[in-house]
Amino acid sequence: MTQMASDGEERRVYRWGMVIDLDKCTGCQACVVACRAENNIPFAGEEQAQMGRAIFWIRIMPVLEGEYPRVRQRFIPVPCQQCDNPPCIKVCPVGATYKNNEGVVSQVYARCIGCRFCTVACPYTVRNFNWYSPQWPEGMDRYLNPDVPVRPRGVVEKCSFCSQRIREARMRAEEENRPVRDGEVVPACVQTCPADAMFFGDLNDPDSTVSRLARSRRAFRLQEELGTNPKVIYLGEEDWDAKA
């Protein structure tokens, strides 16, 4: 999809999306740690973590079913689903969260009043709140990423699809007068995924990897029935099909 810029030039409009292949995902949580390292997410500590105060922009949802010895478990990494019809945005009283023209649901920390309406409205519970001021004990702030701000106490934060990386890639592409190439930009979680279970790219480009995978028969979205229309697409697990 393209849109006309004011100077009459055609400009590519991206629609960022993510595909997570559950058949490959092993629940190793590399994405979880990579995300926290990239996005300056503080660790909560034992007491706070046990209270459910640890902030994760992506987390592993373990779904355990069955009884011994017929047990089944799936690991589902859940980042912000980047809904096309996000329930969180509607309820924000101050416009501190919005969907940008590339489809990314962003949070404006400087605007957020911390009412947590969006966190309760999100059917995926992927929004996080800063209950306390973030802390990096004794020099651990040295690893903070200067491309990502540190969020103050009292505001909501969430997965941004690593917007700092997208911005970087988009600028590089614009400087070179070309569109962002497929696979040129990936969030930290996708970059590290050891089993290659995660993909990221432009859903507006029908030939991109994510578009291709999103058309898979295995493709589904979490809680599709809610009509939120997420841009995080999952690929289901397969069976080994030899007749037993």
């Binding site: 004011s6 940008n100 023209n101 404006v108 400087a110 701000p149 941004s160 700092q164 614009e174 400087e175």
Partner: protein, 174 residues
């Protein structure tokens, strides 16, 4: 009637005080650079990039390194006593402790390189600083020329809107 007068007086004091506080906060803090550096003298000879060497390659323009200065000032090209200071810094093996005039808030992502590649020139944002003949006239920290802390967002946004550039929050905000 007297109450009304008192009320008006009180209102005046509050509004006036607030106005003064705002004005005071925005008053350009005059910066005394370690070397009295006249921009105009240099820009008539060389381009901005000659000294702000990083500007084409990185997000930052970069403050001149002493080695850059010494490229010209090795020889006694200027009789100015200020120019002699450059050599003194160099002899001591020190960098000139330039004071940065333009600072962005922590949550702003800005790339000089990108904006230059879009065809903007330095003046578009930095105004007439290159023409300053005096070393410090009017150019204070977050000063009155070019983008300043006062309404930086408005300044950026006006240009972005005019050129059809990105106006999305996360295009500039981290």
């Amino acid at each position: 009637m007297r109450e009304f007068a008192a009320f008006l007086l009180g209102l005046l004091i509050i509004v006036g005080g607030a106005g003064y506080a705002v004005a005071y906060a925005n008053k350009a803090e005059e910066v005394v650079q370690p070397i009295r550096f006249p921009h105009a003298k240099h820009t008539s000879l060389v381009s901005c990039q000659t000294c702000h060497t990083q500007v084409n390659d990185t997000p930052h323009a970069g403050l001149p390194k002493i080695a850059t200065c010494m490229g010209c000032h090795q020889a006694d090209v200027s009789k100015s006593p200020e120019a002699a200071k450059v050599r003194q810094y160099s002899d001591r093996g020190e960098e000139v402790p330039w004071i940065r005039l333009y600072e962005l808030a922590d949550d702003i992502s800005f790339s000089h390189r990108f904006h230059l590649k879009q065809g903007l020139d330095c003046q578009a944002c930095h105004g007439a600083i290159g023409e300053s003949t005096q070393w410090n006239t009017g150019f204070g920290k977050n000063g009155t020329n070019g983008p300043s802390g006062r309404d930086l967002m408005g300044f950026c946004l006006a240009c972005h809107q005019g050129r059809g550039a990105a106006t999305d929050c996360v295009a500039c905000h981290k």
